[in-house]
């Protein structure tokens, strides 16, 4: 059931919510004040390691296939090295750099304005669909396209359609071809289906995607295989395996971020005139973490700390582990659920939701946390379309000084 007012849902007073907000602001200020050489060293080392792995992978695939003895072990090693390199580049480096986490260094390369990542989606479109749409409207039904990516029904409030019966298949295809699914994400499939997408904008985006996608295909399936000479088939297979590995891994990590049972959905009423503290609260309630050691967290782009990432998307990812200790304490203090579990359990819950919601609601029960009967909003929210509303469809926000719809507090 979707939440329309986070403070009311959590039985928190306005003052408690703002107090929580101030505590989280303090965390932000402390991290910002302490950013420095150690953090810069971290990301520079990460990039060095990633490029080393990619180079090692490419060289292995160029040099080993010419002998029968080394062909298979070389292909396996090369694919593994390249797969890990692609995972690191997409998850820990590209995604985080594009959030502006490292802009403070004023590095000419490691900056959100420059970074073009090693996947088919153009960085510009990722920054729109992910940084803006997903992070601004996190888990708000009808707004956040990541609730199902336009092809999966992931909330009971989303209208069921007979096409949803196929979603176990769509899910498998999405996982396998995740790079291409992400590439098309900002096109907004739902708006195209409803013929609401501006054709000029779509053409512009498609041109960008085709250019980027072509370059990705050229790199992995033409240029590098050609450098292997007669054994180009081995290299193509290894490169495809590396891409598949990255696809499956990225899909799994991303699906653990907001689909486990504890991650809540919200209605559009929640975001109207949302304060900073309420935004923080929605991020905590709408995200889910998973447990793991440092290596798992690095390979996941530190998205095992999805809650902390959503609270502070532009703070350096290497800080999320430390921040999470304090966020957890705050959640305990204010009795706010902090959704966390082992990776396999979080993904298992996401998969169960995909299977269940392929059927109409009457055939299944919800796995979301039970709603206390005294909650004023404990009724089923009306069903919402999957598609995101355009600016023209959303109520305009008042931009003038001092104007807001809630009762003004005395200073």
């Amino acid at each position: 059931m979707a939440i329309s007012d986070v403070a009311e849902y959590m039985h928190l007073t306005d003052e408690q919510v703002e107090e929580l907000g101030r505590e989280l602001d303090k965390i932000r200020e402390e991290v910002e004040a302490s950013r420095g050489a150690d953090d810069a060293a971290y990301i520079n080392k990460m990039i060095k390691v990633q490029r080393g792995l990619a180079t090692a992978g490419r060289l292995t695939l160029m040099l080993t296939p010419h002998s029968r003895k080394t062909r298979i072990p070389g292909a396996v090693a090369g694919a593994a090295l390249l797969g890990v390199a692609k995972i690191l580049e997409n998850m820990e480096i590209g995604h985080n750099v594009m959030h502006g986490q490292w802009d403070w260094m004023n590095d000419p390369e490691i900056h959100s304005s420059n970074w073009e990542w090693d996947t088919a989606q153009p960085a510009e479109q990722w920054k729109h669909s992910h940084n803006y749409i997903h992070h601004q409207f996190t888990n708000v039904l009808g707004y956040d396209n990541d609730i199902g990516y336009g092809i999966l029904r992931m909330a009971r409030e989303q209208k069921w359609n007979p096409a949803n019966l196929g979603q176990p298949v769509y899910n498998a295809l999405l996982a396998t071809l995740f790079q291409w699914g992400v590439a098309l994400h900002d096109l907004d499939v739902e708006r195209i289906r409803k013929r609401e997408k501006d054709p000029q904008e779509m053409k512009r985006q498609l041109r960008q995607i085709l250019r980027k996608g072509r370059n990705q295909i050229l790199k992995d399936y033409i240029v590098y295989p050609a450098l292997s000479g007669p054994q180009w088939r081995t290299t193509i297979t290894a490169n495809a395996t590396a891409n598949l590995t990255r696809n499956l891994w990225a899909y799994t990590i991303i699906f653990c971020g907001h689909f486990p049972d504890g991650a809540m959905h919200f209605t559009e009423e929640e975001i109207e005139d949302e304060t900073r503290a309420e935004w923080y609260l929605r991020q905590i309630l709408g995200a889910a973490n998973f447990e793991g050691g440092p290596l798992l967290h690095i390979l996941s782009g530190n998205l095992g700390f999805q809650i902390e990432h959503h609270l502070f998307p532009d703070l350096p990812s290497n800080r999320y582990a430390d921040i999470s200790v304090r966020v957890k304490e705050l959640c305990a203090q204010y009795d706010i659920p902090y959704t966390i579990g082992p990776l396999h359990k979080q993904y298992g819950q996401a998969l169960r939701t995909i299977m269940k919601l392929s059927l109409p609601n009457r055939f299944t029960t919800s796995n979301k946390p039970p709603q206390p009967p005294t909650r004023p909003d404990s009724v089923e929210a009306p069903p919402v379309d999957k598609g995101r509303k355009s600016d023209a469809e959303r109520p305009p926000r008042r931009s003038e000084l001092g104007g807001w719809s809630r009762q003004q507090r005395a200073s």
């Binding site: 004023n106 000419p108 959100s112 304005s113 920054k127 904008e201 503290a277 926000r397 931009s399 507090r409």
Partner: protein, 117 residues
């Protein structure tokens, strides 16, 4: 049209993040300001930001290091500043997007450059 707008965008005469208000003066559109902040696009031309990032604001905004206008390209900022005598241009490598708290009378978010150049 660019970014789903139903009109053309010109960085000086019809900047992306502004629309004419009831009195004919330019006003910032809240949703587009947020879009610029998070998508990291220029509030004037709506293209991806470059380096450095620039902000325009009056003396008070410069003194507070808190701007209402969204991030801009340096050249777009200079173009806009020419249309508004009270505006100055500030350059930075990074910024924070600060959402309003409940107690803020001004409900507009602000941009706080965090690596001034």
């Amino acid at each position: 049209m660019l970014r789903g707008l139903s009109r053309a965008v010109d960085p000086v005469s019809a900047p992306f993040a502004w629309e004419a208000g009831a009195d004919g003066r330019r006003e910032l559109v809240g949703a587009r300001v947020t879009q610029c902040a998070l998508s990291r696009i220029c509030g004037a031309c709506a293209e991806s930001l470059g380096r450095p990032i620039a902000f325009v604001g009056d003396d008070l905004e410069v003194a507070r290091n808190a701007f209402h206008a969204p991030p801009l390209h340096e050249s777009c900022a200079e173009g806009l500043a020419e249309t508004e005598p009270s505006w100055r241009v500030v350059r930075t490598a990074a910024f924070e997007f600060v959402r309003p708290t409940k107690d803020d009378l001004d409900r507009r978010p602000t941009f706080q450059p965090s690596a001034l150049i």
